[in-house]
């Protein structure tokens, strides 16, 4: 890179633009994904038999369809029934629903790991089912699910690179434009890859911090 291609202002500003689009995709998708995961995971454990079936049906579909296909359906398919989503909204919707399906399985496992005796104790004290979940099992399940959920967030950061397939031009999309304009595929995607690596590293560090902060006696993740 003796000609300092990647220091040219227009290249840098394009990459920065793409970077921020990616972050804008990732952050809400991660948050919605976690919320969906907690709700669906809880329903999959504490719901009645119909709700449990609905929860597992949701997981089956959104984990089973390839993500690109899901994005195509939201962006290219919905207009057929009169619903027009912007590329950004379609991407966030697709990522959230897919991520939520994976998250819900981590959360479900964590709910199941809370000893049944504690749910009995809560009920014996007069807790309603919803209060029992909110105040007794969720705080414990959340701590146990965190490593798995973090894993999913890291994964989400990388699959956000699919958004350009539905014309939401984020980091990978901008990279593709730069690469095809300059024919510098190798360098461009090395740089793009390094930026994703940076993002995932920051996310991993933040998740570690969170795990550490939520650590309690009896819930140790680190020895």
């Amino acid at each position: 890179m003796e000609d300092l291609f990647f220091l040219q202002p227009e290249v840098v500003s394009t990459l920065v633009k793409g970077f921020f689009v990616s972050v804008k995709l990732i952050v809400p998708s991660a948050i919605f994904g976690c919320i969906i995961g907690v709700v669906v995971g809880a329903l999959g454990v504490y719901g009645n038999s119909v709700i449990k079936k609905l929860a597992s049906g949701y997981v089956l579909i959104f984990r089973g369809f390839p993500l690109v296909v899901q994005l195509f359906i939201w962006y290219f398919g919905l207009p057929y029934i009169g619903i027009y989503l912007s590329p950004f909204v379609a991407a966030v919707l697709g990522f959230s629903l897919c991520s939520g399906a994976y998250q819900s399985e981590y959360v479900r496992g964590a709910f199941l790991s809370v000893k049944t005796g504690q749910t009995m104790a809560a009920q014996a004290l007069g807790f309603s089912r919803i209060k029992m979940v909110l105040f007794v099992t969720l705080p414990q399940a959340f701590r146990r699910a965190l490593p798995g959920c973090g894993n999913e967030i890291i994964y989400l950061i990388k699959y956000s690179s699919l958004a350009y397939m539905i014309t939401c031009i984020e980091l990978t999309g901008e990279g593709k434009i730069i690469a095809s304009d300059s024919f510098r595929y190798t360098e461009t995607f090395m740089v793009i890859g390094a930026i994703y690596l940076l993002l995932t590293s920051v996310a991993a560090w933040l998740l570690h911090r969170l795990e550490y902060r939520l650590q309690l006696p009896g819930f140790e993740q680190y020895s």
Partner: protein
């Protein structure tokens, strides 16, 4: 007893799991301030009976009255209110693992009874002090011994001001040297006049304190009576056989 309405009356409680009937037409009535002790072999239905009493296990049949008022199981709100009046102590403590001793006692006061945080905290500290654990209030369950955990769980139940307490083998999961600290607390609660139904194998302790023994086997209440009668002059051979074995194992207070 001048008050003729029993605190708790249970009639024809029946529970089956598949083909196996684990509780058969169990009836029991207990007056204010009484302690009834369920004895009998493991798997005889003691736990199921206690758990059916506050609907942690849904009985197939059976009616319950608290202070003369029948509890209608279909009304969820009524069940939640009823359970607040029926404290439960479990064999394996079942403290909430993510909360300190203080918050274990406090949480239901705030979330179920709707007490203010300050008021709930004061009450929780009072109850922890009563079981001798005030100085442990900031410890998590993982940092407490079995005996301490059980004492916290007793404080947690007492804080709700229950009318009756159900104790399901409260000392069975404890190391021998930790049993007495829990029994002492139970004795204290008992001498304050708490109405209790307890299942236990601590026959010596139970015979000192119980008004009545209830011998339960194969889901069936075989016989009931004052401790001395059940232990030494039981009507049925099966009761006698069980009692002689258990007194041999756990000792008794009459000899």
């Amino acid at each position: 007893m001048t008050d003729k309405t029993p605190t708790l009356r249970i009639e024809n409680m029946t529970k089956r799991y598949g083909d196996k009937e684990v509780l058969k037409d169990a009836s029991l009535s207990i007056n204010k301030g009484e302690l009834k002790v369920l004895i009998g072999p493991s798997g005889g239905g003691k736990s199921t009976f206690l758990q059916c009493i506050n609907f942690l296990v849904k009985p197939d049949r059976g009616r319950i009255w608290l202070d003369g008022k029948e509890i209608i199981r279909a009304r969820k709100k009524e069940i939640y209110e009823y359970r607040q009046k029926v404290g439960m102590i479990f064999q394996d403590f079942n403290l909430f693992d993510h909360l300190t001793a203080l918050h274990n006692v406090k949480i239901a006061l705030v979330r179920v009874k709707g007490m203010s945080r300050g008021e709930a905290k004061d009450r929780a500290i009072l109850e922890l002090d009563r079981v001798g654990l005030k100085s442990y209030m900031h410890q998590y369950p993982a940092e407490l011994s079995g005996g301490q955990k059980q004492r916290v769980s007793i404080a947690r139940a007492l804080a709700m001001d229950p009318e009756i307490m159900l104790l399901d083998e409260p000392t069975s999961a404890l190391d021998p040297e930790l049993i007495s600290e829990v029994l002492d607390v139970i004795k204290d609660v008992r001498s304050d006049g708490m109405t209790m139904i307890m299942s236990t194998h601590q026959i010596g302790f139970a015979s000192e304190m119980a008004d009545e023994f209830v011998f339960l086997e194969d889901g069936f209440i075989v016989e009931t009576g004052p401790p001395e009668k059940i232990l030494y002059k039981a009507q049925y051979a099966r009761t006698r056989e069980f009692c002689s074995k258990i007194t041999e194992l756990y000792g008794n207070s009459f000899s």
